[in-house]
């Protein structure tokens, strides 16, 4: 048996891919391991409910807002209150800022070097700096678009990263008119960049037919929240599952009752759990979440430009679900447009300047679930507290977890297609990483934004001897 190990870079955190070859030199098994364990579910026990948004926001430096808002929503459930309407809108506004920021980072900083410079281009230049040298305007645009998302977050939470702003019952501070005007002034440029990027993707995706066909291209279920009348939703709504034909498999599910339809499996070779759709069992109940799933699940987005783009997106699969994970990139770009259109609507709404942003209450329920859509997919925070509001148990299902089974299948598909049993090629390594990167998994930090890409691959023969070894330094 031969085994190839590929550390995965240019994603958020540490991962490893192992490919095991049979004696026939064919891929017998491929796995994506998440090699870090962090223990949030354990060390939140004993803390107070009101600290939870602040604690769980620290899960991530890229999408802290997602955990912040989801935790605050679980807190709302335990206080048994509905935040005032202005708070609700401001939380949505911040989440949209997070979508813009996180999606821009994923596309421009992490993935566009592969898409624009090519999968087989020189790895020394295939990063954000190489992109800046070859396409300075595109790189600059990416930085500006991400900065706009961050500006929305900091206009509300005073900080770009880890704002402790959402609290159980609402938010801490309202939006000021000056901040609203600043955001409104910069919106047209952000919209221009988002539409340019979308056009660029649509013009070039024909170049990547091979990758589209092999980067996680398989039928599966998709899950996301959908709003009223099946509209695209990022903050509230009910859970919907669709299949590869885009037929609704389950609809109107109460997100707070997720244990009735989502199971969580554990494997000894990864720190990340494996959620699955209970009706189909493990591992057949594989489903995908995130931008691709949200666009496959919704009936419409609800804003003009995004709905036009959704029409073009649907047409590549003849109206059925888009099943190639490569098109997570496509969906992400459409969602940036959708997010900016909604930001525009909120900035025109006078209610977002209201000072009524917080409902005060004590502990009224001993269990609460917060669910919303993070940039990477549906996020669940489930808390159990005692009478004093001290956490007794915590269950988090993070977006990347839902995609765990799909990422594993994607790695296997790419290995089958690109692996030449005798040689570890640069193109194979980068496609394995690229296949994972399409999901924009958030395993923790953004090392590669600085251009580093340490990579080590070992090909081991049947009797444990090293057949090939390739090291690429940072």
């Amino acid at each position: 048996m031969r085994e190839i190990k590929v550390p995965v870079t240019r994603i958020e955190g540490h991962g490893l891919i192992t490919i095991v070859l049979g004696r026939d030199r064919k891929v017998s098994r491929a796995r994506f391991h998440v090699t870090e364990g962090r223990g949030f579910e354990r060390f939140c026990q004993g803390r107070t409910l009101w600290e939870m948004p602040g604690i769980t926001a620290r899960i991530c430096g890229i999408c802290p807002v997602s955990h912040l808002l989801c935790s605050a929503k679980a807190g709302d459930a335990i206080l048994a209150v509905r935040p005032p309407h202005p708070a609700d809108k401001l939380r949505r506004l911040m989440n949209l800022g997070q979508f813009v920021e996180s999606h821009a980072l994923s596309f421009f900083h992490l993935s566009s070097p592969d898409l624009i410079l090519g999968w087989d281009s020189d790895p020394k230049a295939r990063n954000v700096f190489g992109l800046a040298a070859a396409h300075p305007q595109l790189a600059l645009d990416g930085i500006r678009l991400r900065a706009y998302g961050q500006e929305i977050i900091s206009a509300l939470g005073e900080k770009r990263v880890h704002p402790a702003w959402a609290v159980p019952g609402g938010v801490r501070a309202p939006l000021t008119p000056a901040a609203r005007d600043r955001l409104a002034a910069k919106l047209p440029e952000a919209m221009r960049i988002a539409q340019d990027a979308l056009s660029l993707y649509e013009d070039t995706m024909g170049n990547w037919a091979d990758e589209v066909a092999t980067f996680g291209n398989f039928p599966s279920l998709f899950m996301s929240l959908v709003g009223e009348e099946g509209a695209w939703e990022h903050y509230e709504g009910r859970i919907r599952f669709v299949d590869a034909e885009r037929r609704i498999v389950a609809d109107g599910l109460d997100p707070a009752r997720y244990p009735e339809y989502i199971g969580e499996a554990v494997e000894g070779w990864s720190y990340l759990k494996f959620p699955y759709f209970q009706r189909d069992g493990y591992p057949d109940g594989l489903y995908r979440v995130g931008p691709l799933a949200r666009l496959n699940c919704c009936d419409r987005i609800g804003t003009r430009r995004a709905d036009e783009a959704l029409g073009r997106f649907r047409s590549i699969a003849g109206g059925k679900a888009v099943t190639s994970s490569f098109h997570y990139h496509y969906a992400r770009l459409i969602e940036i447009v959708a997010a900016l259109e909604r930001v525009e609507a909120y900035l025109d709404d006078p209610e977002i300047l209201s000072p009524r942003v917080r409902a005060e209450a004590g502990v009224n329920e001993l269990e609460g679930v917060g669910v919303h859509e993070a940039p990477r997919g549906t996020l669940f925070h489930h808390y159990w507290v005692n009478e004093d509001g001290i956490l007794e148990r915590v269950n988090l299902i993070v977006s990347t977890g839902h995609n765990n089974l799909a990422m594993n299948r994607t790695v296997a598909q790419i290995a089958h297609h690109y692996l030449d049993g005798a040689k570890v090629t640069e193109g194979l390594l980068n496609r394995l990483e690229g296949g994972i990167r399409a999901y924009d998994p958030c395993l923790s930090c953004s090392v590669h934004a600085a251009g580093r890409m340490p990579l080590r691959v070992v090909l081991v023969g049947p009797d444990g001897e090293v057949l090939d070894e390739k090291v690429r330094d940072a």
């Binding site: 004993g46 803390r47 107070t48 009101w50 600290e51 948004p53 602040g54 604690i55 926001a57 620290r58 880890h162 402790a164 609290v167 159980p168 801490r172 005060e360 004590g362 004093d388 509001g389 001290i390």
Partner: protein, 233 residues
């Protein structure tokens, strides 16, 4: 008046005042943590240590040492800065002080001292004790993870409110502040719920329930204010 020197500056002070009072009157900064105006000095934290040249360089707590004629005091030196940093490091290493999500982040005397004294690393191994949060009180909570045992709450409760709810239990590093000899705070029969202990606390150890990260702003000067306004017999 008593004449003494602090950091080579001639200073005059009232009899029965302390080195700390004299230094403050002269505009000389000496860091403190367990000291709070209106409460009796206890010299517990040792952050206000000063060196007395004509006592063979002996280190004494400025908050609890009365002025004497002719004292030659060093309030700021490299040696004192190093000692104060070490004391702070020991305080941080002793319990679980995690500023990132603390209710008092940005409004914490311990955090401010670390910044002021340049304590950017803790060189001692952290103890990581497993300590609980008592949120049984209707209005307030106590998080022992953030307690530095300065005793300001214990003194505020006894000396200003007169309730004597808070006391120390255990010894040495295992000491805990507790209510009514170990009752949950919410079940205390002596606590009046006045909140003076919370306002006196320099860290996020005592907090108002419902406050989220960085929301707990303390008003320790309140203790001196209410003491001063109180009618005297």
């Amino acid at each position: 008046m008593i004449n003494l020197r602090i950091d080579d500056t001639p200073v005059q002070a009232e009899p029965n005042s302390t080195i700390l009072t004299a230094a403050r009157a002269a505009g000389i900064r000496i860091p403190t943590l367990c000291h709070l105006d209106a409460l009796r000095p206890v010299g517990a934290c040792r952050l206000c240590l000063v060196e007395v040249r004509n006592w063979n360089g002996r280190l004494v707590p400025a908050c609890a040492t009365p002025v004497q004629e002719g004292l030659d005091v060093v309030a700021n030196s490299d040696r004192l800065a190093s000692l104060r940093r070490t004391i702070l490091e020991l305080l941080f290493a002793e319990r679980n002080h995690i500023c990132a999500f603390c209710v008092s982040n940005g409004h914490c005397e311990l955090q401010d001292l670390a910044t002021e004294l340049g304590m950017d690393h803790v060189t001692f191994p952290y103890r990581f004790p497993a300590l609980a949060v008592d949120a049984s009180h209707a209005k307030f909570g106590i998080d022992h993870n953030r307690c530095v045992l300065c005793g300001r709450c214990v003194r505020a409760c006894a000396e200003v409110e007169g309730a004597f709810t808070w006391g120390f239990a255990g010894r040495g590093v295992h000491t805990l502040v507790d209510a009514d000899l170990g009752e949950p705070w919410g079940e205390s029969e002596t606590c009046t719920g006045c909140g003076k202990c919370v306002q006196a606390c320099p860290t996020g150890a005592l907090f108002e329930k419902g406050k989220a990260t960085a929301e707990q702003v303390k008003r320790p000067a309140l203790l001196a204010d209410v003491t001063q306004r109180r009618p005297r017999a």
